[in-house]
Amino acid sequence: MEKILRIMMGPEDKPQAIDAPLGDYAGSGGRAMTSAIVAKEVPPLCHPLGAENKLVIAPGLLSGTTGAMSGRLSVGCKSPLTGGIKEANAGGQGAQVLARLGYAAIVLEGKPADDTLYFLYINKDGVKIIPDNGLRYLGNYDLVDRMKERYGDKITVISIGPAGERKMSAASVAVTDMELRPTRHAGRGGVGAVMGSKGVKAIVLDDTGLRMRPPKDPEKFKEANQTFVAGLKKHPVTGEGLPAYGTNVLTNVLNEAGGYPTYNFKQGRFDGAAKISGEAQAGLETKRGGLATHGCHRGCVIRCSGVYHDKDGHYLTKQPEYETVWAHGGNCGIDDLDTIAQLDFLDDNYGVDTIEMGATIGVAMEAGLLKFGDGPGAINLVKEVGQGTHLGRILGNGAAVTGKVFGVEHVPVVKGQAMPAYDPRAVQGIGVTYATSTMGADHTAGYAVTANILGVGGQVDPLKPEGQIELSRNLQIATAAVDATGMCLFIAFAVLDQPETFQALIDMINAFYGLNLTANDVVELGKSILKAERDFNQKAGFSAKQDRLPRFFQTEKLAPHQVVFEVKDEDLDTVFNW
């Protein structure tokens, strides 16, 4: 990954592609790359849909290698949803193939002179920027079929659906999986809208004729990778739970804990949870000839994904993730897996973030547009988003906008981004992360790497709120670092428990690049990413005021435990003190 591909979309008449050296960005990957470029090159006060914003697409440091789990692709920009810096990442094949094509990043810059729609085709021979208005408003599935007809089935496609073309703030960027389906999404923060504002419908990647990226020390790399894979396979989360039930294994437990946001964050338990649990979903998928165990990218050994068939045994969608099942399920009072699967398909096809859409429909239900539990009604609302109707345009811009338009007080967002599937009143530490993350309400921003090595955890009393601030800080640092590697965050549990597995990850990076990084270096990497993001947000106008949860979380008790969010504002303001 020795170069950056800069695509100048305008204002000149004809877009241009330029291969640029890495320069100051050498050694960066994934979120480290996207945040560094955005922080340095995007004016924080620019309009997110304007020419000054840039969309940065970057594989991780270990993407495109034989290293396991290295398939995450980061997509960064100034977010039209939050107004701050954004990094969203996706699985699928994009990171692997882009890295093998030799690119540390693609940067979409400028804005086209007119409304011509383009797609890019990139292979070992170079880059083509092709105008094609015939792709306008195609769903992601039809778009991928068109590209398959044109270029064969060895391609990988990064694309936006009609939501991104219409520049809706809930729009995602889709990445195809190993079966060439657009099922993996960089969902959060409206990154798809920024791609749409650049006039780019799709990026088609073809690495035919190219090999895996070779490590500097192949023997050490192979040994470290073997240790890493062995660690993942032997751990009960990564080796058993996730492959068997996927991320939706969380439904029953969050529900039991009373932390499962239900009816637009009105209560913490949903009576229908067992019907839409990971256990129920895996059983149904297997019965119908789908798959309960499936990897989203080559090199994945956890295989937490799956394939969901309809009642006639035909493909309907990928196995909906926990966040999707919650957002369209319990949050909306819907307890039917087929309805949720249909919503998941529509979200993927139109290219919208499933979390934002589910939260938005929950707000719409609270507004009285339809009743909680109305599955067909929810499907119709998402169809309006795909069709770009007046109502669809409101909904497609997320929960905050929808709440404002319909006069709803109960809107679960931070920095304009909808909260994911954990109520912060029950799990207060996650609330700290929601409030303070540079990304807005984000459940992946404060995730775990081994406590002993990174100083996470220590002597925290499980019965007291003290220590949560420091924990959240350290977790955010660790997560930022992992996001730079291209590694799937689900490695974190195995790494948390097994220090040798974390060491194997560092050994892989060292063996690949010929470095001598230590755990402290990982910490410093994470801090540098967060600092760049915080600086950008401050210049964009953010202050401590934005690092807060909506007030109702402090005043409305959550059943069944009757708890409120109790972490003090002055404590939230110390998260980034280091």
């Binding site: 437990v253 459940h443 499980p462 965050l489």
Partner: protein
């Protein structure tokens, strides 16, 4: 709860454990006869080695509150004990029993009060999730569990829909019946509980 005298005993292949998933997730009841901790209950009821229990059950709740120490937490009649393996994600790490991130969920962490002086008898509701279903489910069912009439009705309806495949025997109150001859309107309606016993082959 009133017990309805239509106690079924099923003999069925282990591969059909999935048919019982709703019962495990919604919960079933078992009697508790004496003062005991969660760990005692699991080891004595299921004959498990404590090491096995700790390895397989890494997330657990007692009446909705996360438990950090099985050996120090007493169960009492009316409680609900929910058992799970370790889970992914920040939420999974947070809910983990005795986990480093337990402080994140202090508002819903179980706090053990003073131990009761008298022996406790009554019913405990048990829920099993994910891999724990396979690990403990057959053992509980072999000993017999109390479930509602509605739960049994749903179970038998599901088995009937698959034409009783893999089911080698059904007894009601100790008498063998051929469910294919069975007239469904004979099944009692309304509320109540039955004792379900399942022998896996």
């Amino acid at each position: 709860m009133t017990s309805v005298k239509m106690d079924p005993q099923l003999s069925i292949k282990t591969a059909r454990l999935i048919a019982f998933f709703p019962i495990f997730q919604q919960g079933f009841s078992v009697p508790i006869q004496k003062k005991q901790t969660i760990l005692d209950f699991l080891c004595e009821t299921n004959g498990l080695n404590p090491k096995v229990v700790y390895r397989q059950i890494q997330t657990l709740f007692l009446t909705g509150k996360a438990v950090d120490e099985m050996s120090g937490t007493l169960i009492k009649p009316g409680d609900t004990l929910a058992l799970s393996a370790a889970l992914p994600g920040l939420a999974g790490a947070t809910m983990r029993s005795g986990g480093l991130l337990a402080g994140f969920r202090c508002a819903i962490t179980h706090r053990e009060g003073p131990a009761p002086s008298t022996l406790a008898k009554g019913l405990l509701t048990v829920k099993l999730f994910n891999q724990v279903i396979k690990a403990l489910g057959p053992s509980f069912l072999k000993q017999g569990v109390l479930i509602t009439v509605e739960q049994v009705r749903e179970l038998l309806r599901g088995l009937a829909a698959e034409d009783w495949s893999d089911c080698s025997g059904l007894e009601i109150n100790g008498q063998p019946v051929d469910p294919r001859d069975w007239s469904w309107p004979d099944w009692p309606q309304g509320r109540g509980v039955v004792r379900l016993q399942v022998l896996f082959e």
